[in-house]
Symmetry: D2
Subunit: 259 residues, 4 copies
C-alpha cells in the first residue's frame, strides 16, 4: 500500500451543471464536496475525475496511480466507454479499492464487477432514511453509533439484485415503508469493493457528517493490501508424476500452450 493513499473521486458531473438545485448544493460538483471532506483525514492524496475529461479522467496513468476509486454516476452510465470500464476492472482485480455510491449501482463498472443486474425499487420523495449499523466492529462503521439518519433521501428498496455481500454492514429503514442493504462489502480478485447507498444529487447528503465519515472509513478499508497482476501460469510439477500410457502423453511433459 502506498503512503499516502491515493484516492480518485470520479463523478459523472452532469446534474451539477444542468440542474440549479443540484448546483446550489454542490457548486463545484459532488466530487469536490467529498474531496473537501476527505482532505480532513490525514494520509489521503485526493484527485478528481469526471465523465467529460479526456478518457473520463481515468487514463492508464491515473488508474495505475490510484489506490481507491470512488464512483458516482447516474444519467450517463451508458456514456462511459467500455475500454475504460475494462481498465478499471483490471485494476480492481489487481488490488485497487472501489467505492460505489448511490446511483452508481447501475454503473457499468459496478455491474461488471458483480455480474448481476443491480436493480432495485426506487422513489424520489425526499423521505427520511435511517441507516442501521450491523457491524459495530467493522472499520467502515467506526464513529457511527447504532444508526444515523438522513432527513431527505431517495428511497431504494429490496430486492437489490446483487451477489450476497461478503459482509453486510448497513441496512436502511425508509419512511415510506421499505428496507435496503445500504452498506455492502465484497472482495473480487485482490481488490475490495464497498457499495454505499446514500447520495442522491438533489439532497445535501454529501454534506452530512456521517456520510462523510463512512466514505472516509471505507477509503482506508478499501486501500490495497496487495497489488498483483493477473497471470495464468503453466506450472512445473512439484512432485514426481508417474509414467503414463503413451496415449495420453508422458508424465510431466507439458504439451501445448494454453493461451
Amino acid at each position: 500500500m502506498s503512503t499516502p493513499i491515493r484516492v480518485t473521486i470520479w463523478n459523472e458531473f452532469r446534474h451539477e451543471k444542468k440542474n440549479e438545485a443540484v448546483k446550489k448544493l454542490y457548486p463545484a460538483g459532488m466530487h469536490a464536496t467529498l474531496a473537501e471532506a476527505l482532505k480532513k483525514r490525514p494520509g489521503l492524496e485526493i484527485r478528481l475525475a469526471s465523465l467529460d475529461d479526456a478518457e473520463h479522467g481515468l487514463t492508464e496513468q491515473v488508474v495505475s496511480g490510484t489506490d481507491v476509486l470512488i464512483w458516482w454516476g447516474h444519467v450517463a452510465h451508458s456514456e462511459v466507454k467500455d475500454e475504460i470500464v475494462t481498465r478499471v476492472q483490471k485494476r480492481v482485480l489487481e488490488g485497487m479499492g472501489l467505492i460505489v455510491l448511490h446511483s452508481g449501482h447501475f454503473s457499468k463498472i459496478f455491474k461488471r464487477m458483480l455480474g448481476t443486474n443491480c436493480s432495485l425499487k426506487w422513489r424520489e420523495a425526499a423521505e427520511k432514511e435511517r441507516l442501521w449499523n450491523l457491524e459495530p466492529g467493522h472499520p467502515i462503521t467506526q464513529g457511527i453509533g447504532d444508526y444515523f439518519e438522513l432527513p431527505n433521501e431517495e428511497m431504494y428498496g429490496e430486492r437489490f439484485d446483487i451477489p450476497t455481500p461478503d459482509k453486510l454492514i448497513f441496512v436502511s429503514w425508509f419512511e415510506g415503508g421499505e428496507v435496503f442493504r445500504s452498506g455492502c462489502c465484497w472482495e473480487r480478485g485482490h481488490g475490495r469493493i464497498f457499495y454505499f447507498r446514500p447520495g442522491h444529487e438533489t439532497y445535501p447528503t454529501f454534506h452530512n457528517e456521517n456520510v462523510q465519515k463512512v466514505i472516509g472509513n471505507a477509503v482506508f478499508w478499501a486501500a490495497p493490501r496487495i497489488i498483483q497482476a493477473d497471470s495464468c501460469p503453466n506450472y512445473q510439477p512439484l512432485e514426481k508424476i508417474a509414467p503414463k500410457d503413451a496415449q495420453f502423453g508422458k508424465a510431466g511433459v507439458l504439451q501445448e500452450s494454453k493461451l
Copy 2:
C-alpha cells in the same frame, strides 16, 4: 420449473474436428458424449449447440427455452460474440442454470457472471486427479462417495481467481502436488451456477461415470426455481411520508424518471 428440464449442452466443438486424438475419444463431440450420458436420467430434454452454429446455436428462442445450459470452451473463447454472452447472462439472472466445465473457466460467460479473471495454474501431464467430496449432503454429490479419481487429467492449481463460492463441494488433489477448488456453487440473480473442473479434451473424462453423475446431478440442482425478468420499478410508498420542505420536493411525489 418446466417438466422435463430442458438442457442445452454447448460445446466449442473445434478440437474434435482438428485433433485426431480428441476425435477418437469424442467422435461426435464432447457434447454428444455428455448428451448420451444425461439421456439415461429421466426428466431431461437435451439439445446440442456449438460455436459454429448460427448465433452459436444460442438464438433467443433456444436460450429462452433452456432451463440449464452446460458450457465447454477452450481455444475459441474470443470468437463467442458479446451479444450472445449478454443474452445468456440475462437469462441466468432470470433463473436459468449454468454449468461451466473445465477450460470454460476462461469463457466470456463465466468471467461475465463472476466479474473476476478466473485465472489459475495449469499443466498438461496426464496426471492423476482425486476429487474430494466436501459436501456429502449436497444434491450435486449424491452417489459420489468420499472421493473419486481420474487417472489422467490436466492439472489446475490454486490460486483460482474467483469470488468465494457460496458453497465449495469438491477440492482436487493432483499427483504433481497442487490442489484446486474443483466444484463451486454460486447464485447470481435468480440463477444458479456450478463450476466443475475436470474435462480436458485429450482425456476420456466425459466417459467417466462419476463425472457424468456429477454433471447430471448438477443439472437437477441448477434447474430454475423461478424465472423472473429484471425490473427496476418506481415504487409507491406504503406508509405516509411526512410533508417536506419545499426545497426537496413534496412528500411522496415522484419527481423524475430514473431510466
Copy 3:
C-alpha cells in the same frame, strides 16, 4: 429423506397456560395452531412436544424419528436440559432440519448451533411489521410476494448477533423505525437451520396465512438431504508415502490412536 417428512413442533407451552390473552389466541398452544396449518400441506407427518413432557418430549426415539424440528421458546429457555440440547444438536449435524421461531433466538439450541449471543433490540408495542422478500426464487418464499405485513408484532431490531447467514431471505421494516434480518438460512454439519422472526405469543401471528406459508415452505426446505453420523476416522493413505527419517516414524505407519 423419509416420505412423509416427519415434523416435530416443540413449544415451551407456558404462556398459553398462564396468560389469558395468549390462551384466547392459542387455546391448545401455538404448536397446535401451527400443526393445524401444516396439516393442510400434503406429505407431512406432525407431532407435538413441549417443555413439560418427559425429556421435554424429545426422547432419543423422537429426535431420531424427526426430519424437521420447529422450536418456539421464551421464558423458560434455562429449563431446557443441556443433554437434550446436545441430543438435538447432534441430530441437526447429522442432517435433521431445525426451524427456530421468534423468541427462540435466545434458546439454548439456537445459541449452541450458531455459537453467538443471538442478542438484539426489542420492544413490545403491537406495532406493524413488514417483511421484505429478498429472495423470490428461494423455496421458503414461494407464494409470498414482494412483502407481507403483520399488523401487530413485537419489534426486534439490529444488531442481531448471529454469524452472517448463508442466505438472507427476509428483512423486516418496523413501524417504530427499526430493521431486522427476519429470515436467515444456515447449514451446519449436514443439517439446515432457518430462523424466522415473527411469532410473539400475545399476537395472532401464527394464525397469519403468510407466516404459516413460510413455515410450511421452510419445513420442505429443511428436510434432510442426507442423514450421516459423525465420525473422525483414522485413514489409510491412498498414495505411497516416502520412507521417513526414523525420528518421525515410518511412512504410512499409524502411530497412536486419536480418540
Copy 4:
C-alpha cells in the same frame, strides 16, 4: 485495540511432559517455542497459560486482559472446564481474537464457537504437507509465497465438519493423497477466529519459519477491532407508533420485561 497487542498462548502442555520425543522438540512446551518466535515481532506482549494452571491459566483477569488467545490442545480436551470455555467464548464474542491450532479442532472452545463437530480424517505418518496460499492479499499470508511445505506432519483430510469459512486462505495437499482446508477465517460476535491446521506435537512444526510467520500474522489480523459487551436492550421507538387496538396493548408502551 490495545497497544501492544496482549497475546495469551494456551497449551494443554501434557505431551511435552510425558513423551520424550516431544520433550526433545519442545523442552519448555510448544507454547514457549511459539512465544520465542512471536517475541521477534514488535508490538506484542506475550503470556503463557496451560491446562494445569489454576483456572487453566485463564482467570477472568487474564481473559479480560487478552487481545488474542492462541489455543493448542489434544489429549485432554475434556479436562477443560465448561465455565472457562464459557468465559473465553464470551470474550471472543466481545471482540477478542482466537487462533486455534491443529488438534485444537476438537477443543471445547472451537466446537463451542462454531457449533459443529469439527471432525475430519487423520493419519500420523510423518508425511509431507504442502499448504497452498489462496489469498495472497490477506494479512495472514503476507510473506508466504504461493505455498510452503512441511516435510513431516500428521494428515488431516476432508470432510472437515465446519461452517463454511468466511474466508478460506490455505488448502493443504498431503503426500498420502488427501486435501484439507488448512487456514480458515470466521467472525463471531465482534471477534475473529482463525483455524490453522499444522502443529502435531511429534514434529518440529512450530520451529518452522513459515508456520511462525502465519501465526504471527494471524495475531495482528485477529486483534480486536472493538471490544463491546453483549446486551439485549428494550428499545424506545424512534418513530411514532399508531394507536393500537386495546386487545394488543397501546402503541409504544412496553409491556413486560424480556429477561
